[in-house]
């Protein structure tokens, strides 16, 4: 097997083995993958050249819907909760998207920010409905009818999240190759040309937006299920900024980038903040600066470059060049 395919598979296998090899890190990785899903949503929009500074809106929406429903049923069924959370995020994404896709660049970003801060304010202040700044606890649901204890539940959710992440990455990859996905790139380079061809730029962007909202919502749902607690901070602007941060860190040109970036980010955050609480932001910030200045295609881009350096005869598609 070629290294191009082998290395990612080995990494994937390593991640999949974490609950057995490093059980203490299972929860951390689950959260990282959940965030990675939201970042994948950002990457979808980045393909169209647009950045949303408010995607924490959908992350929080998914998480809180799960929290409300789980609390109302003292648990409930995880499958239904996931479904409901993602549907809610898709719906909100559609409604907000209808307004937001009329704008571009900084205005697109700012309007998204505004919506996410509106949700944050509501979640924070309406104490008796949303639990205010304390947030809400999420009772553990049953998975496929089985009530699990903590250990089994967390491991199951880890694998569920892993599968969903791989599935989402693959689907987005297919989407990018589809006509609608290719149209996104046209949006980035020259929107008017797209309209001359007969496609509605807004329509194309709306589809992408709703997909990205759903991905972010799914991430929030999984976070709520595995962490067992949701807070308004899930909708705060810093979190939206984190998503964009991770997108560039991991590399916005590939669908693996979000997950690679998220895992690196979470590992640094968790271990640095446990042992050197006042420097983890500096470390991550510095890291990002280095990436932006010297490796703007992110960690995955670095990996690709490394691959090219190691095996220069192989062209981008991986097929051997005739010698």
């Amino acid at each position: 097997m070629e290294p191009r395919v082998l290395v990612p598979l080995v990494l994937l296998a390593a991640v999949a083995a974490v609950p057995l090899a490093l059980p203490a890190s299972t929860l951390l990785l689950t959260l990282a993958l959940a965030k990675g899903l939201a970042v994948l949503g950002i990457v979808v929009l980045l393909r169209a050249g647009q950045v949303s500074f408010g995607h924490a809106l959908y992350f929080a929406a998914g998480a809180y819907v799960v929290a409300f429903l789980a609390r109302a049923q003292q648990g409930g069924s995880a499958v239904l909760l996931v479904f409901a959370g993602v549907m809610a995020a898709l719906l909100v994404g559609l409604v907000v998207g209808l307004f937001v896709v009329r704008y571009r660049y900084i205005f697109f970003g700012m309007l998204n920010l505004a919506f996410s801060m509106v949700l944050y304010s509501i979640l924070e202040k309406f104490f008796f409905i949303t639990g205010g700044s304390d947030g809400l606890r999420v009772p553990r649901p049953t998975i496929l009818g089985i009530a699990m204890d903590r250990f089994v539940y967390e491991n199951t959710l880890f694998y569920v999240t892993l599968v969903l992440a791989v599935l989402a990455a693959w689907l987005v990859h297919r989407y990018f190759r589809s006509p609608l996905g290719e149209a996104l790139r046209a949006l980035k380079s020259n929107e008017t040309r797209l309209e001359y061809v007969g496609l509605s730029a807004r329509g194309v962007l709306l589809v992408a937006y709703v997909i990205s909202a759903g991905l972010a919502g799914l991430g929030g749902v999984l976070l709520a299920l595995v962490q067992g607690h949701v807070t308004p901070e899930l909708s705060y602007w810093v979190r939206s900024g984190e998503f964009v941060f991770i997108a560039i860190l991991g590399g916005a040109a590939s669908v693996a980038g979000p997950f690679v970036g998220a895992i690196v980010y979470e590992l640094v955050r968790a271990y640095a903040s446990a042992f050197a609480a006042d420097v983890w932001q500096m470390i991550l910030g510095g890291f990002l600066l280095v990436i932006i200045l010297f490796a703007s295609r992110g960690l995955v881009g670095l990996y690709d470059d490394l691959g090219k350096r190691v095996a220069p005869n192989r062209a981008v598609t991986g097929r051997r060049r005739p010698t």
Binding site: L46, V51, F99, R102, Y103, Y105, I106, F107, M110, L111, L113, A114, F115, M117, V118, Y120, S121, I122, E124, K125, F126, T192, W237, V238, G241, V244, F245, I248, D278, V279, W280, Q281, M282, L284, G285, G286, L288, L289, I292, L293, S296
Partner: protein, 300 residues
């Protein structure tokens, strides 16, 4: 009832003054450099911390407490010139050519780094120095006592900043250069304007204003990690609602948002955090370029 109205207005104005000082620097930087400076919140916070340290130092050295006022301004200038200037020259200059996302993320990364710098330099426990506030005493409005600092000095400073900025941008050569570059960088450069220098000047002015906001705010409250975070998103709200690059518009919008917030505290407290962002959403939905912004024509 009209008493309460007056009080709400006065409270809103004091709050608006601080937000304006930070927002106007942000909007100026965006107008000229086309850069949304997330690190602006850090300038605010570091300006506040520096002012507190300076005043504490003055107190320890036994100098007159009235020197605290020039100390406030001095800290703002120090932070703006040194930190702002350094940032622009060393870092931002390299990224102007890159995509908007990346330049913004660079400022976000700087924001994160500076958050930790604050923790390392000033610690994580609250710092409180209110000398400038206490010296001016209280004034009475009806039956309510206000501190003269918040009621008069803060809005006065904001007004001075506004007038000075207007005069600077309209009547001085340097200021007009800034306006020219903001309008059309390429044309300005074609006419021989040193855009690099203009960028630096603008960024330093913007950073100084943010630091001034922080310095002026510091006597009213205790300083802890994270004060920049809240202020930056609020400034974004003002800037976006006013229209990017609009100086006078920022003043009006700051007042609007300040009044909105203080009325909410009186009438419907659950809405107080929500008001600025609700206003932002409503304005942006109907006028994406902001209340005073100029709609950009689409370049084909």
């Amino acid at each position: 009832m009209s008493d309460l109205l007056l009080l709400a207005v006065l409270d809103g104005l004091a709050y608006a003054a601080l937000v304006f000082m930070v927002a106007v620097g942000l909007t100026l930087i965006f107008g000229v450099l086309r850069l949304l400076n997330v690190a602006h919140g850090s300038f605010y916070a570091i300006g506040a911390y520096t002012a507190t340290s300076l005043i504490l130092g003055l107190g320890a050295a036994g100098w007159s407490p009235w020197l605290a006022y020039p100390a406030l301004v001095l800290s703002a200038v120090l932070v703006g010139a040194l930190l702002g200037g350094l940032l622009e020259r060393v870092l931002l200059r390299r990224v102007y050519a890159k995509e908007e996302v990346l330049t913004l993320l660079v400022t976000f990364a700087v924001f994160m780094i500076l958050e930790d710098v604050q923790r390392l330099v000033w610690g994580v426990q609250p710092l409180f120095v209110d000398t400038p506030l206490r010296l001016l005493g209280t004034t009475q409005v009806g039956e309510v006592y206000y501190t003269a600092y918040q009621l008069m000095l803060l809005p006065a400073t904001a007004v001075v900043v506004l007038i000075a900025l207007r005069w600077y941008l309209r009547s001085t050569l340097q200021g007009r250069l800034i306006v020219a570059v903001a309008h059309d960088r390429e044309a300005a450069m074609a006419m021989g304007i040193n855009a690099q220098r203009v960028y630096l000047t603008t960024f330093v002015i913007g950073a100084t204003l943010a630091a001034l906001g922080g310095a002026m705010a510091s006597p009213t409250t205790s300083l802890t990690p994270g004060i920049g975070t809240e202020m930056i998103v609020l400034s974004f709200a003002v800037v976006a609602t006013a229209g990017l690059g609009q100086v006078e518009g920022a003043a009006v919008t700051a007042v609007l948002l300040g009044l909105g917030r203080s009325f909410a505290v009186y009438l419907y407290p659950e809405m107080q955090v929500l008001m600025p962002y609700l206003i932002m959403v409503v304005v942006l939905l109907f006028r994406p370029q902001g209340l005073f912004g100029v709609a950009e024509t689409r370049k084909v």
